[in-house]
Symmetry: C2
Subunit: 324 residues, 2 copies
């Protein structure tokens, strides 16, 4: 063992503290496993070294980078937009699904199935430009408080994950969001919230058309469903936007299963991570059952597939970026 | 005028030569206009300064970054694949369009219209994995010579444009291809040919599906038409992949009109560039008429819209990256 003189030891001490890339992660095996992986693929002398151009990391958003309870934030946004619109023009409530949504009757909305949700999206996410939609979404995310925590939605991002994203970028990774949520909704805040620019956000999409409006070329949202970036759609979205198989994929539900499978079956060292919502006290506890963020197959197969399961209650010293 | 001592003069001379970012461009007003634009948007003291994150440059591919005569290279590839397949199994020639294509009867193929082309694409671009398709495309592009020049297709990239792409990246731009061509076909060589990685290639697409093949998650090409990244589709593709309005857009045909319009109507200093094929001696001369790369509306409106028209014969001292 090498003995360091006091000043050098102090410097090492300071350096070690300030160098902790994941201060909101507890000192558990989970944190060690993540850091070991990153060090292995970034060390040029390691047999697991991955060139910078191939260091692609893909993150789900809802339930992985920010909360998704009591419902996806984008759904809560859609409901607010619907209520505003219905106040000005009650005739837009042209179906049972929209009436239920406007009354806050979630069971009634869910009973209408996918068609009802698409109706809601069409009313709340179309007939305006992409720029206007993003400005409105951004305003809502920054200024509306979560019903249970009182924290603005845009601050219900997970501090440990924001640290992980930054750590990966510092180590030469390109970080991507690959979400079932709408691409424009996420982009409205992704740069500020996560340091992820618009071109690194892969998501679901309605139809967008280019039109010359009052002499100016404008992208207009027209509703409908162009692409669902969920389940087997996630590897397809990754191929479309990125064209490379990620070396690291992080999700929290069975909607991310295909993405983790795709990423971890590539050649060389790979890592798949599932965020397990175990923290009823600080956040929400849910997994195998429910309507949102169901994690069932993932829990069954994580061990066999060598995926890391993050136990939010045990592995995180802090949950949200925003303070309660 | 400042008098430099001989050694310093020599160094300045060397520096000036090696610092020319566009050595294959003639010293014309066109070159000056491009450099003036780049200097204006990258100078922090300029009123036209654009932050690095917004320095998005979008380039068409066929006819802008590489040649497109006597036909799009991807079409020539599809015909070669069809011939190979038909030799092994003549039954695949199940329509007049495919028979014409196999016989090299381009008029017959064109007579079948869009449906015939889609049939050809379906036979040549489906039923294999994305990885296998890209490996095959790459091999073809690297090893097949152009019928007129004898240069391998992958080297029929324009040297002045390769220099422009590099210059822009050196100045903090993010360079993108936004092409009507197929995204997988272009990605097969885009990094080597242009220094453009797969995630910066926006293109047209058939249907891709994720499937577990022999236990391994695989992306399979299934043919069909999922998205056409041409004309008004180009701004839509830009929004989907990039989510930012480019400050510079470069094309060569009316298929690029909407992209140039969209880019140049943004706030602040913008630049639209059209490559005009004027060089019958060294390349090909064509514009307002024909089946490929028609440039008609663009020529009519370029002056009024302030777009720069590059005269290949006058503005370029060299054409292809590969040597004839």
């Amino acid at each position: 063992m090498r003995i360091l003189p006091p000043v050098a030891a102090l410097l090492v001490g300071v350096s070690a503290v300030s160098a902790d890339p994941l201060p909101s992660w507890q000192e558990t095996d989970t944190k060690t496993a993540i850091i070991d992986f990153v060090e292995a693929v970034t060390d040029p002398d390691s047999q697991d070294f991955v060139p910078r151009a191939d260091r692609i990391a893909a993150f789900d958003n809802d339930g992985t980078l920010w909360s998704e309870q009591p419902a996806y934030f984008q759904l809560l946004y859609a409901l607010d937009v619907l209520k505003d619109k219905a106040e000005a023009d009650p005739d837009i409530l042209s179906s049972d699904a929209l009436k239920a949504a406007n009354d806050g009757d979630m069971a009634g909305l869910m009973a209408s199935g996918k068609d009802g949700l698409i109706e809601l999206l069409n009313v709340s996410h179309s007939g305006l430009s992409v720029d206007d939609f993003m400005a409105d979404s951004r305003d809502w995310l920054l200024s509306t408080n979560h019903p249970q925590t009182g924290i603005p939605f845009a601050q219900m991002t997970y501090q440990p994950m924001v640290e992980l994203l930054r750590y990966l970028r510092d180590e030469g990774f390109e970080t991507y969001i690959v979400s079932g949520g709408g691409v424009h909704f996420i982009r409205a805040v992704s740069d500020d919230a996560y340091g992820i620019p618009s071109q690194n956000v892969v998501g679901s999409e309605g139809t967008t058309v280019y039109d010359v409006v009052e002499g100016k070329g404008t992208l207009m949202k027209q509703g409908g469903v162009f692409f669902i970036d969920d389940k087997a759609g996630k590897p397809v979205g990754i191929d479309r936007y990125i064209g490379k198989r990620p070396v690291l994929a992080v999700g929290n539900s069975d909607g991310d299963f295909a993405m983790l499978e795709y990423a971890t079956q590539g050649d060389g060292l790979r890592m798949g991570v599932l965020i397990h919502h175990t923290d009823a006290e600080r956040e929400f506890a849910y997994d195998r059952e429910g309507h949102i963020g169901v994690l069932d197959q993932g829990l069954d197969e994580a061990v066999d597939r060598g995926w890391l399961v993050v136990d939010m209650a045990k592995d995180w010293s802090r949950v949200w970026t925003g303070q309660q």
